[in-house]
Amino acid sequence: MDALALARSQFAITTVYHFFFVPLTIGLSLITAIMETIYVRKGDETYKRMAKFWGKLFLINFAVGVVTGLVQEFQFGMNWSEYSRFVGDIFGAPLAIEGLTAFFLEATFIGLWIFGWDKLSKGVHALAIWMVAIGTTVSALWILVANSFMHYPVGYVMVDGRPMLNNFAELIFNPHLMTQFPHTIFSGYVTGAFFVIGISVFHLLKKKNVDFYAKSLKVASVVALISIGGVILVGHAQAQLMVKQQPMKMAAAEGLWDSEDPASLSLITISDEEAGEATVDVRIPNALSFLAYNTFTGEVRGIHQLQEEYEELYGPGNYVPSVMIAYWSFRIMVGAGFLMAFLVLVAFFIWGKKKFKIQSKWWYLLTAAIALPYLANTTGWLLTETGRQPWVVYGLLKTADAVSPNVPKEFVMASLAVFTLLYGALMVVDVYLMVKFARAGVEDEPSAAQVKAS
């Protein structure tokens, strides 16, 4: 592998890994905040225990998310110095604003929340976890402002071959962001909700602390229902936008080698990327046109036509991303999404049961379903980021021209090895602790006699 391939591998590994922790942080902070708010308003101690129990799991996850986020902030400069120089006038600002408006909020108020149970009033303490939840959302907003510029550059003028900030409002109201942000946030909420549902079902089957897990399941089911609906609706809008803004990504995701009007939706397509054709191709006629334009006709451009178009526009080169990654990650994401929508209804079915009585071992599938949002989140980002290749900033800078020219291959090899090993070890510890505390469950409610004795 050359230095570029190594740097790309490192970015992929560290970013995918970081985003294992981010969605749960976004979702579980919201759910914990809702639980504590119910406690403050109703005075029901169970909700306080819920906030503490789910909050403890939140913190184990949060710690790894925070420290792996540091790498993200540093590695643009370390491995992608040409990129940093090229987009610095635009890209640095949202990163700095993220630190100022989001990280301080999260970091300060999580400290107040963990250590403040006896030092703050009930209301202020609940406010602290809301500040954390808001901080995670604001953080997602700013990093996606930066990311959206890479997909759909707006608000700039080219000066001496570099994009310079021209209109800040355009940058933060980037149409790409308007779908990307809600899609990401909703999927974070789904992740948190499935986490709580899965663990609650696990304990409901054990018939211990039924009231506690029943209430947890209720809160999470409501969050899950609203947010899976949000993910799917916004996802649809996002795909329609993709047809306009990044047609090549859509063509790859659909295995559509040649333009079609009306365009068909792929049921299963296996492509020979070398030859540039589909070897197996089963498609639903007109369906892609319908999804793209809400009518049964309309051209969706294919990979070959787009390649020609881009060669004319940007000069010779290969403008086709990995069709296999785009095609399959799109399908896995969408499939996982609809499966989750179904499972949310299943969770409501449990809610409808008398005293949440469930017995069949099949219910453990809901616990296993904790993995589904992770699968969807990861494949979603794989589609988003690999589908943009060969560009790092769409139409402006290619990934190959973005890497640090002065960092020796050996250095990148070293850092790639170090991060892979370190992250691997952290994953083992994190999963071990998560499983340990999730299985152990909440401590039994203190009986009246115990309360008296103490």
Partner: protein
Amino acid sequence: MDLQVLWFVLVAVLYTGFFVLEGFDFGVGILLPFIGKKDEEKRAAINTIGPLWDANEVWLVLAGGATFAAFPQWYATLFSGFYLPLLLILVALILRGVSFEFRGKVESPRWRSLWDTTAFIGSLLPPLLFGVAFANMLRGVPIDGNMNYEGGFFNLLNVYALFGGLTFLALSALLGALFLNLKTAGSVQETAEKIAKRLGLPSLALLLVFVVWTLLTTRATPAVLAIVFGVISLVALVAGLLAARARRGGLAFGASVLAVAMNVAVIFASLFPNVMVSSSDPTFSLTIRNASSSPNTLTVMSIVVAIFLPFVLAYQGWSYWVFRKRITAKVEDLNY
């Protein structure tokens, strides 16, 4: 006001905030093996920084982000050039961050001592390596006409830079000891006071040599402001050490904070208007002029900072107020 100068000052202030705030919590981590043999004593020490360290570290994140936003060329040259030290810093910060969260999660002495070790190493390396990096930035490193560092790794290991690293390390440890002295009671406080006394003179000696060395060698004529900051730094540290002897814990900590802040100020004042000095050719140096973002970006960023920084300072300050009480090594008071 000149926006590029303003942002140079802001970046300097952010790094100063980092070296002061995270400085003392690095210090607490460095002293962990020495603060007491009993687990409760170590836990008491960690609990003093438990609610604070994460927000302290955001000062570094913001300093990095602000450098990227306001001086992208500086960010690109520095971070790609000092690749290996930054890699080590990242590893250290990662290990340290999870140590605090993980160490109390399993009831086993081996588990705890594992995370105590990573917290120690993770706290020791960053001030040392940042000291080396900042000293090099000022001393000058080989930078070519395209603003790229071309010096390899061993170029960074010169005597001046290593001395800078040691100075930052010693000052962090001292701040940590004075902070523990202020924030704990009982055996931990007594040990911290002893450690602070022992660290006092060596730290002062290191600071004195580093400041004088910086003023005499990094420029043809030292900047007036740098001399002023240097004098304040040294006087403040002397005052801090005297206050520690007089058992005035608050004053000792406050004066030492000032000393550390002024030491960072010496570096930035000596650097100005450069941001990275090229030893290959002075005309290749990065300055606040050739490394900065456009006036448009700097204006937007200035407005954002003017709106949000007061809030940040207010709530972070408030959190210090909430956790102002001393912490004892009694188990029921401890979180971690």
